[in-house]
Symmetry: C2
């Protein structure tokens, strides 16, 4: 006889990690909408209801996947900024860290952009996080700027980065360094001017 139903039971935390890994892979491969919960379950070697006891819904599972990536992204960009002295270098390094992170972590990124309203909302949360981060960074460079102005500039930078990243993912001849410099080209000189005139 072969090993009949060796149905190993597994602790809650461990299972959750298995499921998250499987979900990341399956959602990444087939896209969130196209992927089914049964496919994720099969990958784990388990049946569908198990996923529901752990994550409640398909959206919940996606959300859990995304939450990790979000925390990592903030950590990575914050560290990069902290490693620099001057404000210009802080913006440059954290921008660069952003591109590098996406490059190392393509599947998670694809997931965010795969579709789904829940991914959209999560993405919005990440943008808010990054925008606040950048606004704080700019406040150092332009101390007399109004809060709304800082927010507006931060929006410009976050939007630009997002688009550059997407562009890069489709045209691999653009290096992370080049993308960073295109952003700095336009933004930094303008920021230097704006900082003076807003005082």
């Amino acid at each position: 006889m072969e090993t009949r139903t060796p149905r190993r039971r597994v602790g809650r935390a461990e299972r959750e990690q298995q499921i998250l890994d499987a979900a990341l892979a399956v959602f990444g491969e087939r896209g969130y909408q196209a992927a089914s919960m049964d496919q994720v379950a099969e990958r784990v070697g388990v049946t569908k209801p198990v996923l529901y006891t752990h994550f409640g819904s398909k959206d919940g599972l996606l959300l859990a996947c995304i939450t990790r990536a979000r925390a990592e992204l903030l950590a990575v960009t914050s560290e990069a900024a902290a490693s620099a002295g001057a404000p210009e270098e802080m913006l440059r390094r954290s921008t660069r860290a952003f591109f590098d992170y996406l490059e190392r972590n393509a599947p998670a990124w694809t997931l965010l952009y795969s579709e789904s309203s829940v991914a959209g909302e999560a993405l919005e949360g990440i943008r808010a996080q990054q925008t606040d981060f950048i606004a704080a960074l700019l406040a150092g460079q332009a101390p007399h700027a109004k809060p709304q102005q800082l927010q507006g500039w931060a929006q410009v930078i976050v939007g630009a980065c997002e688009r550059l990243a997407h562009w890069r993912s489709r045209d691999r001849t653009v290096s992370a360094e080049q993308a960073t410099e295109y952003l700095m080209d336009l933004v930094w000189a303008g920021l230097a001017c704006a900082a003076q005139s807003s005082g």
Copy 2:
């Protein structure tokens, strides 16, 4: 007797317009995913298969809705740019026209961002359109820049505009004019510098 099945039959072109209008409304109200084809059909006063004979699939219907908006957007920004003389004014006016268009045409815009991979692809098409448009515009300002550099800068601007627009839609205290100026603040001075150093 009440009017028993006054089942008016309607020409193809007319029905298609009715369906597109209904779809725009329903998708806009409930979101693309949450909206059902039956709901769209009911709004038109017709049954589901009619939608399929005209648009093939739910995605097809969404795509048809988006196509109109895309054409309108290009027309509006092109005209604004054409109305200006100097390059700086061209960028300013077309940016402003973009924000104004979205303001007048909120439902269509919401639709694009509602979710769905097909909307995502269509959106990508619109971005490509706008990016090419801007790159051409920048080429006038920085004639010696490399094509990839122009594309990179255009990506920065398109991404920034998109984000500013989204920001504005959630914080209505930011005027179209302000958004436009935040973009110009950062971008134009940088562009002036970059144009010289790249020659």
